[in-house]
Symmetry: C2
Subunit: 146 residues, 2 copies
């Protein structure tokens, strides 16, 4: 597993307030802005910070007794294809991770993903995301969702 | 303000479990490992993921009625000198941020910092950290703490 965080996603109650603060206030440029749903900012070569509307965040993560620990934060690691999602989730589980969602279609963006909790409760999304790529200089490209 | 997250810090109940999972399990290499306190991993060019022992995390952030919203997560943005800490905290406050801690000496690592909550409760550490630097290729360097 490459030592890389590709997405840091934060559940966000007020997307308009986030946009005002980061875009108008701090002068940041969104990588992709889906009104009412999510705003993405590239914050390092190859790494994206996402503000995800709270209800959509919860739907994407799923609900149920397996995840009372949901904190409003996920980290994501993207892999090259669907079999690699299962392989990495298995590796995480073999080393003390807990699979919350086995590999499946995600709710958003054509992503195929698994969710794995680390031993301290940090939730990782292990994903194959066909709409995501990184240029050689670290610039992230995200396709518009359908 | 450069559009960059320099540190993503997670309060961590069991540092040994984190070390087993990320180092032994996933094969990651720590950038710096301070037993019983904090383990740092570089996870993108210029960006560090830190697992910070819960008690130390809370002490570093401070406590009190101003921060019931502490979630166990902070993002950090480093600046060149101490005056720039105050300047960026002021700019954040002018655009809807809430200063939780005005610029002061931090509890750890010789850092001079302010803590500012964004409109959705995300806590930013705005810091001048003399023990931190980034090489031109994005490699992060962290000095051993005293």
């Amino acid at each position: 597993m490459e030592q890389q965080v590709h997405f840091l996603t934060l559940a966000t109650a007020d997307l308009d307030a986030a946009r005002r603060f980061y875009v108008e206030g701090l002068g940041w440029t969104p990588l992709l802005d889906v009104p009412g749903e999510i705003v993405f900012f590239q914050v390092a070569p190859g790494t994206v910070l996402a503000f995800f509307e709270t209800g959509s965040f919860a739907r994407d993560l799923g609900t149920g007794p397996a995840r009372p620990e949901v904190s409003g934060v996920t980290l994501a690691h993207n892999v090259a294809d669907r079999p690699a999602v299962a392989a990495l989730a298995d590796r995480m589980a073999a080393h003390g991770g807990t699979v919350l969602t086995p590999p499946e279609e995600g709710a958003f963006g054509g992503v195929f993903h698994a969710l794995v909790r680390d031993p301290n409760g940090v939730v990782w999304e292990v994903a194959h995301n066909p709409g995501w790529s990184v240029d050689p200089d670290g610039t992230v490209r995200l396709a518009q969702p359908d």
